[in-house]
């Protein structure tokens, strides 16, 4: 795990161009949203709350906007939601290219290679995403939600909120929910790594490959994910808190805030690169381990009569790396 973390930190500090590409994936939907919001927010300048909004937060500005200009309010929400959706899809799309560049090392042009890699992996990544969403629905909806539903049923309709069954249900939801989400997502990540390495031609094979790599090593994998989550959250919190306290009152100050926030997002993007690099190192370690086991098994099998090997493909072939 420490090896993986070192690799991640090295990549976080060294892969600045890659981080820049990820940062651009934030800036693009944000820029579109900024432009689209212009006609929807113009009314704030002709409201009495305009001056107070320049000074800071004004609860009446928000509530009166919602109460009296419903169309603009809904439009603003729609723009924000569409920007979020677009940004998320863009991140999903770019992940394949980012992984390929990380695997190959920092060769220029990074942006072009990320886009080319993403385009090349688009179809298989889409299938993998579909599989991921299904797995998520199964684990969160079926397993996590199903067990919670069963516990609720066992408790009965007239159970008091602090009854052991209800407590167990809440505890289950609080623990199994996030844990299930993390594990399903990590398997998706490892499958995408397998696709990026070219180990698997389809999402199905990639998922099949990622399974054994997680098995028996869930704790270190979860450790890596949690650690990088912590780093990313801490960075986000720090930059947001400082940004909010800047509370610009002039055009210059607003520009300074925008620059500061973008610097923060760039650092967060670097942390994301670090996470992927850590995950790649973990994956490499597991591949090597599984490959050596395969070789050992193959050696043993060579001593055995040829007819015992069936069609000649040892068990390690399915999980071995690309040529």
């Amino acid at each position: 795990m420490s090896d993986a973390l070192r690799a991640g930190l090295r990549a976080m500090a060294g892969q600045r161009r890659l981080a820049g590409v990820l940062w651009l994936s934030l800036v693009l939907p944000a820029g579109v949203a900024f432009t689209a919001l212009a006609p929807l927010t113009r009314l704030l300048d002709s409201s009495p709350s305009g001056a107070s909004l320049v000074k800071g937060w004004d609860s009446w500005a928000l509530l009166s906007w919602h109460a009296t200009r419903t169309a603009q309010w809904k439009g603003t929400l729609a723009v924000v939601l569409l920007a979020l959706l677009g940004g998320w899809l863009l991140q999903l799309f770019l992940t394949g290219g980012v992984l390929r560049v990380l695997i190959a090392g920092d060769r220029r042009p990074v942006l072009g290679r990320v886009v080319a890699g993403s385009v090349a992996l688009f179809k298989v990544n889409l299938w993998a995403t579909g599989r991921y969403l299904l797995s998520l629905a199964f684990w969160l909806g079926g397993v996590c939600g199903g067990v919670a539903w069963l516990l609720g049923k066992v408790a009965g309709a007239s159970a008091v909120p602090e009854s052991p069954w209800i407590q167990a249900r809440d505890l289950w939801l609080l623990s199994a929910g996030p844990l299930g989400f993390f594990m399903v997502s990590l398997r998706f990540d490892l499958a995408r790594i397998a696709l990026a390495r070219g180990e698997a031609a389809t999402a199905r094979i990639a998922y099949r490959l990622s399974g054994p790599r997680i098995r028996g090593h869930r704790t270190p994998l979860l450790g890596i994910a949690l650690l990088w989550s912590g780093v990313a959250l801490a960075l986000g919190w720090a930059f947001t808190t400082i940004g909010v306290s800047m509370n610009p009152g002039s055009v210059g100050a607003l520009l300074a805030l925008v620059l500061f926030r973008q610097a923060g997002f760039a650092v967060q993007a670097a942390a994301r690169v670090g996470f992927w690099a850590s995950l790649l190192r973990f994956d490499e370690g597991r591949r090597a381990h599984l490959a050596s086991r395969t070789i050992r098994l193959s050696d043993e099998e060579t001593a055995a009569p040829l007819h015992d090997r069936g069609d000649g493909e040892g068990p390690g072939h399915a999980t071995s790396g690309p040529p």
Partner: protein, 680 residues
């Protein structure tokens, strides 16, 4: 001058105010609860004194729980089984109350009893019982009735009822209606005021003393509106006797699972010095005068298991409410307050006021971050305890004038909430929503009803809620802004002092404000309380151009030519400038408003407009060009329906609010997207 004299006399308690209520009815009740069967078996000795100057031949009673008797009751039909987000159990959740006997001096008076439906003529409604007497009760005569009854608690969805072993017992006994004598609540003739129990009505009752003996299984913890007098135990049951004077309602609650937490309001410690200072300054009373009468109050919190950690939040809000209402209205006159915390699946009982006791309501998850910033616990305590004043101690008629309780309570709650906590909902990074703003946003919507209307006669449920809660509260804030802090709060306090232990009407409230000659007050009374008027001030047009140089022949007959295009552009940058601004008023509320014209050189010209006409044109010639025209720059008109047309900017200077909001909005987008990077 008139206003000045009036104000000068306000601080003291007016001579005609009551120090204690006129006692009309006393109850001596014995009741036994069978939790498994949800049955109450009771007997009461009711002593009612005819307060009118006429003989009374028929007595009228409220049997509120018959609202839950079946789907044909008026309550069921109006609510269709839904109220305040809760749903009735329409299979086994029904409840009822049946009077099994009623005697007066040994004579059975129940024989001729009949149910009445004065409001809607619903023959199936059983919530008002008329009982003819064998002989009329003479004016001033006390009628002592012996009444036996049994009642079944409904599954709680509308205030009273049960969930498992939790029982909230409000309006649970045969309760005599109010006989209003001539003059009371401005009545021309004496008569009964007995309405059916409606989905959107609450209660109205007469003052008296209560003594209630409650028998429950020994394991049950009992909370009640009274002070405990005695407790005896026998055969696995216990009987607790409670007594309370000077009330018009006696509610109680029981649950074996209650975790009781106790505290004490100590005025010397719990009244914030800053609030005392503020009240002293605004009300024109010394601190000693304000603190006089504020007494220690025993606080009991009946918490659900799992909610224990939240009792401190209840306690803090409760102490603040006792301090604030004690200063700005009058000192709480009872010795105790009981706060009921209903179970999470019994929230139909939550947020309901009774006297000296009320139900709050919370959820375990509300103590988790970041949900802690949702101040539902504080909000419900401030609101329900404030009811103890406007419904409890100024016993207004909630059937006919719901705003006098709900509206004034919502107003007081918003002042208490925003002053103490700043925001009703507080999110991370300094973002929050103020309680007053929340009400205001609801109040400025379109209305189908006036505020003054029988509570069951509103066009719809949202109309009832808006016109009973948010709209009257916002109108009171409007009156406050127009009157000024001193005048408003002195009149407000005077209203509270004058009408405590009595039954005020809306006109009584208005009459205390009328001498202040508040501009626009009568328009608000007519337009909001009795009508559906609104107001929307707006900048219709604003121009500021260089004063045109004269063209044509001058007095000496010389021909003056206008400057050519090139020179005109240069000349346009020099003054003087003729500025014309037209401000309009939509809606029928006539309120005074200020108009501010800000010029490019930073000078601000302020004009006060009485708002009587539909529009006003301001014209000025000044050395600088107009940069910004604004109507109501200080935000006095809180009822302004559309604040987004109040400003016209001709020359923007400095940072634009829209640009700042857009920048924050895209930062939010980027934050959320980068949050996804925090996850695998």
């Amino acid at each position: 001058m008139q206003a000045f004299l009036f104000l000068a006399f306000l601080p003291g308690s007016p001579a005609f105010a009551l120090e204690a209520p006129r006692k009309v009815v006393d109850y001596d009740i014995q009741v036994t609860l069978e939790p498994k069967e949800r049955l109450l078996t009771g007997h009461e000795t009711l002593r009612w004194t005819n307060p009118s100057d006429l003989p009374v031949a028929t007595l009228k009673f409220h049997l509120y729980w018959n609202a839950f008797r079946n789907s044909a009751s008026t309550f069921s039909q109006e609510s269709r089984g839904h109220l305040r987000g809760d749903e009735a159990d329409r299979k086994e959740g029904w409840g009822f109350i049946d009077v099994t006997s009623m005697t007066w001096s040994g004579a059975d008076v129940l024989k001729g009893a009949r149910f009445e439906s004065p409001d809607d003529g619903n023959a199936d409604d059983r919530t008002v019982l008329a009982v003819p007497l064998p002989r009329p009760a003479a004016p001033g005569e006390t009628v002592a009735l012996e009444i036996a009854w049994k009642a079944k608690a409904p599954k709680v969805f509308a205030r009273a009822g049960h969930v498992r072993d939790f029982f909230m017992l409000g309006q649970w006994y045969p309760k005599i209606a109010v006989l209003e004598p001539r003059g009371m609540r401005r009545r021309a003739e004496a008569g009964w005021n007995a309405h059916q129990y409606h989905a959107f009505s609450e209660f109205y009752a007469d003052w008296g003393d209560y003594r209630v003996a409650i028998t429950v299984p020994e394991a049950f913890v009992v909370a009640s509106a009274g002070a405990k007098v005695s407790e005896t135990r026998k055969d696995g049951r216990k009987t607790l006797v409670f007594a309370q004077e000077r009330i018009h309602d006696f509610a109680w609650s029981t649950d074996p699972r209650y975790v009781v937490r106790e505290s004490r309001f100590d005025p010397t410690r719990d009244v914030p010095a800053s609030e005392l200072e503020r009240a002293s300054k605004v009300l024109g009373l010394s601190r000693e005068e304000l603190m006089r009468g504020l007494r220690p109050v025993q606080l009991r919190f009946y918490m659900q298991p799992g909610h224990e950690s939240q009792w401190r939040r209840y306690e803090e809000a409760q102490k603040w409410a006792l301090a604030w209402l004690g200063l700005w209205a009058f000192p709480y006159p009872y010795a105790q307050v009981s706060v009921i915390d209903p179970p999470e699946d019994g929230m139909g009982a939550a947020g309901m006021e009774y006297q000296t006791l009320y139900t709050a309501g919370t959820d375990r998850r509300l103590s988790w971050w970041p949900l802690r910033g949702l101040r539902f616990q504080e909000g419900v305590v401030l609101h329900e305890f404030a009811h103890g004043y406007w419904y409890g101690l100024l016993a207004s008629n909630e059937f006919e004038e719901s705003w006098m309780d709900e509206g004034i309570t919502t107003f007081a709650e918003s002042v208490m909430m925003d002053r103490r906590y700043r925001y009703f909902v507080e999110l991370p990074f300094g973002v929050g929503l103020a309680d007053e703003d929340r009400n205001r946003a609801e109040a400025i919507g379109r209305d189908l009803d006036p505020i003054r209307r029988d509570s069951w006669a509103f066009a719809s449920e949202p109309s009832y809620y808006r016109n009973s809660y948010a709209r009257p509260a916002t109108v009171l804030h409007q009156i406050r802004r127009l009157a000024g802090e001193e005048a408003f709060w002195r009149a407000f306090r005077s209203y509270a002092l004058r009408w405590r232990f009595d039954h005020p009407t809306a006109e009584d409230f208005f009459d205390l404000f009328r001498p202040l000659a508040i501009p626009g007050f009568e328009s608000l009374v007519a337009g909001c309380f009795s009508g559906t008027s609104f107001v929307d001030f707006r900048i219709v047009s604003a121009t500021s151009e260089r004063q045109a140089s004269r063209a044509g022949y001058d007095d000496r007959g010389r021909l003056l030519l206008p400057p050519d295009e090139k020179n005109k552009r240069k000349a346009d940058e020099k003054g003087p400038f003729e500025t014309t601004v037209v401000v309009g008023r939509d809606g029928d509320l006539v309120l005074p408003v200020e108009i501010a014209l800000t010029f490019e050189n930073g000078q601000v010209s302020r004009t006060r407009w009485d708002g009587r006409e539909k529009w006003i044109r301001l014209r000025t010639v000044y050395a600088s060009r107009l940069a910004r025209a604004e109507v109501d720059p200080s935000g006095t008109i809180v009822l302004d329906r559309d604040p987004f047309n109040n400003v016209r900017v001709l020359r923007a200077k400095g940072l634009s609010a829209a640009a700042k909001v857009r920048a924050y909005a895209v930062h939010l987008v980027e934050n959320l997207l980068s949050l996804a990077w925090s996850l695998p």
